[in-house]
Symmetry: C2
Subunit: 144 residues, 2 copies
């Protein structure tokens, strides 16, 4: 996401482009696949923007979620975590959590389309989004 697309997206929702919001986005872009918590994002942003306040980061993550810049993740570790939302890719993107080592793996899979279609037909529920998490044992933990 470049500066112009970012500004446009904010504007479309009636929000302003601020240095702080840009700085938070930059951290997310620079650290793909890390599933950062708000506090972690805060500490990374402070490296390049020491004046930023924690409350601003909390507010920014809420805003980013609202306008579809991030997905809020829940790995049952007591805080929300975030990843950049990538248009086409994300509808087919799930997480595997290993219950032994607690590592989180990413998975590409498009078989959910079928399920969503069935839910639409059978329950008349229009599916816009989904969250899917699988729990089990990763390859490494299984071998030892």
């Amino acid at each position: 996401m470049d500066a112009i697309a970012f500004k446009d997206k904010l504007k479309r929702y009636g929000y302003k482009l601020t240095t702080q919001r840009r700085a938070v986005l930059d951290v997310l872009i620079q650290r793909p696949g890390e599933h950062l918590s708000t506090e972690e994002i805060y500490s990374y942003v402070k490296e390049s923007f020491p004046e930023i306040g924690l409350a601003t980061v909390y507010r920014t993550m809420q805003l980013f979620e609202e306008i579809g810049i991030v997905n809020r993740l829940n790995f049952d570790d007591g805080c929300s975590r975030f990843e950049l939302y990538v248009d086409n890719e994300d509808h087919h993107h799930h997480h595997l959590i290993c219950e032994k080592c607690n590592k989180v793996f990413e998975v590409e899979n498009d078989l959910l389309e079928e399920i969503e279609k069935e839910i639409g037909e059978k329950y008349k529920f229009y599916v816009k989004n989904h969250k899917v998490t699988f729990y089990g044992h990763c390859q490494e933990c299984n071998e030892h």
Copy 2:
């Protein structure tokens, strides 16, 4: 789940059968499909067992989750919610959350088997469990 099966399950994990644990289980059995929070369970248990403490209910829910008596649910409303875990049934049981009215619907669907098989083959990840939530609009909200 009857008294004997309950006691056995606790014993198998090295825990004792207490009046409080039994009282919490009874509330869950008497209120199927309600997705109760810990505080809600606490207030229901108090009706038949006024001396119970809130901390005990929190501890009991943690224990019930550990030994597979309940599923911990996350509907992004700031607290954990719970439902009784039912052996065969539950692996095919998902939730639909309507983003307009916030009602939660239950869905039976077994198409995930296919996805889990693929994850096992492709990523060598042994799937023991999963959590699946769909977000969208329910029939009623779509019609108005």
